[in-house]
Symmetry: C2
Subunit: 131 residues, 2 copies
DNA sequence: TATTTGTTATATAACCAACATAACAAATTA
DNA sequence: TAATTTGTTATGTTGGTTATATAACAAATA
């Protein structure tokens, strides 16, 4: 798989797994309907504990990104199933706020931050008009 | 002061303090050259421990936002002193990435996320062209 | 001089991250 | 059907972080 763990990061391992799976889906490495590797397989692959991966999968389920079928496997939900709720939109905005605020206080302009956002989108290979 | 602590948030108290001070500066509630309250005063004000606020101040210093003068006080650095280093820009982009990626996977469009970013800027009362 | 300041030190309690091991029961596969 | 694989649950341990409390120090300030 495409996941790389940085053991001495301040980001917890289970969070690293969660983020990189999300980025993998955004990038198109994985599609709706695809099955994630079993928690044991991925854990062995990454050299981490089974429960660490399991925690990540449940975080993904809580975010509404995958469906875990007990004793069967984890499946990436289709985009149709993933309807953006107002709560999710609010959550994204809540996550965005401290990042933007810090950037501004450090002296970044709105234009710079917008440029960075487009750069991130480009990294995720998401088509943006004008990129 | 303008800081409100949510004790049962999953965000640590010292992190809440850090973020709200950053937002306060971005919003213009505090300006460059202003002195932050002493760690003891702010701690008493918020009903938290001295060391919790102290940790927050040192986080702000590490981010390059304030200067702590030993046995004197903490001062908000001027925008001129705060020159955006490439490392800082990269850090902002690194912080931005998981938020944007999650939004996209949940079904948000680039336009929606850009709109949210402008909303955040508006909350921070930062003038953006066309707002 | 007395007060206020950040600093440093020590100690404690609670919680979280991560690991290890084991067993269970349902789903899948051979 | 039998063996394997699956997520689930349980228990325990280790290490680190968060947050508190208390105390003392030395420099800056009033």
């Amino acid at each position: 798989m495409f996941i790389k763990i940085e053991p001495q990061s301040d980001v917890p391992i289970y969070e690293q797994v969660t983020r990189q799976i999300i980025e993998g889906i955004a990038r198109g490495d994985m599609q709706s309907g695809d099955t994630l590797p079993s928690v044991r397989n991925l854990a062995a692959d990454l050299g981490v504990n089974m429960h660490t991966v399991n925690k990540s999968y449940h975080e993904l389920e809580e975010k509404g990104i995958i469906t875990i079928r007990a004793k069967s496997g984890a499946i990436i939900r289709s985009t149709e199933e993933r309807i953006l709720t107002p709560e999710q939109l609010q959550q994204i905005e809540k996550n965005l706020k401290p990042v933007v605020a810090e950037g501004m206080v450090l002296g970044a302009t709105v234009e710079q931050i917008e440029r960075m956002m487009k750069q991130v989108c480009a990294d995720l290979q998401i088509p943006v008009e004008g990129v």
